[in-house]
């Protein structure tokens, strides 16, 4: 499980850095996030095994993500901001899946969706939760990956 957590961390960091040019900062330097609203996207997948990956970001990150990906000076539209977040989730999910059972397994990813909250039904013993928290000057991104428990 620790290996998966580390893989998720490395892939998430790489995606935010290479795709959105956001560099993480130490957690203790993070802006206070308790009172900040968040936006959540998720990508579910099936195939060799099933699961879902959620990314929750504090809202001030949204325009920065889209601006950086699009190389736009103007503030991107709300639709573009949500689209950027969805694409980040898509890239992280697609890249992290080979960590589960090797690169030769086939998974089908659904289109990323914006959701109000994390589906509580995943918070059961049937699912493994691998999570990570990344802090940036612009806000906080939390990644929650629920995957089927590996077969013994």
């Amino acid at each position: 499980m620790n290996e998966l957590k580390e893989q998720l961390m490395q892939i998430s960091l790489r995606t935010f850095e290479e795709f959105a040019f956001l560099m993480p900062i130490p957690a203790e330097d993070a802006p206070p996030a308790d009172d900040l609203e968040t936006t959540i996207t998720c990508v579910s997948y099936s195939g060799h095994s099933k699961g879902i990956l959620y990314i929750s970001v504090t809202n001030p990150m949204l325009p920065v993500l889209a601006q950086n990906i699009l190389a736009e000076e103007n503030t991107p539209t709300e639709q573009q901001q949500l689209d950027a977040l969805r694409e980040i989730a898509n890239v992280i999910c697609g890249n992290v899946l080979p960590s589960l059972a090797g690169g030769d397994k086939i998974y089908r990813l659904k289109a990323p969706e914006i959701v109000d909250k994390i589906d509580e039904s995943y918070k059961t013993d049937s699912w493994c939760l691998i999570d990570n928290k990344l802090t940036f000057d612009e806000g906080i991104a939390e990644i929650f990956w629920f995957c089927e428990k590996p077969q013994e």
Partner: protein, 127 residues
């Protein structure tokens, strides 16, 4: 040789990013067409001269995979240069796409990755 390029991706942000990367690559581009899924992509190919298709795989309505099959089935477009740009990581899926004559670029990618793939498929378009 100036290229007519078609970008097929359901994400507006991704299409914009690919377009931006194309424009900073050392490529001569005449037109860039955009489609939100494979079906729209095929319609554009049927009505326009397209030299190169850059396509995602997972899309609603028609996937990139299905679009490539239809392109290869049609004698008028069977030899079209296709590069798949996707976060797909399954080696089997990538092999299947390569067997269909498509090059594969993994997301996230750099301008150099894209330029190298275009040169591999079409040669140096500046020559």
């Amino acid at each position: 040789m100036s290229l007519n390029v078609l970008i097929v991706d359901d994400s507006f942000v991704m299409r914009s990013m690919v377009k931006r990367v194309l424009n900073i690559c050392d490529l001569q581009i005449q037109n860039i067409f955009e489609a939100g899924n494979g079906k729209e992509g095929l319609e554009i190919i049927e009505n326009n001269w397209v030299d190169l298709v850059l396509a995602d795989i997972n899309m609603p309505v028609m996937s990139g995979d299905e679009m490539i099959d239809k392109i290869r089935e049609n004698p008028d477009m069977a030899n079209m240069a296709i590069i798949v740009i996707s976060s797909e990581s399954s080696t089997r899926t990538i092999e299947i796409l390569q067997q269909k004559g498509a090059l594969f670029i993994h997301k996230p990618f750099t301008p150099e990755n894209l330029q190298a793939a275009v040169f591999e498929l079409l040669g140096d378009t500046n020559e």
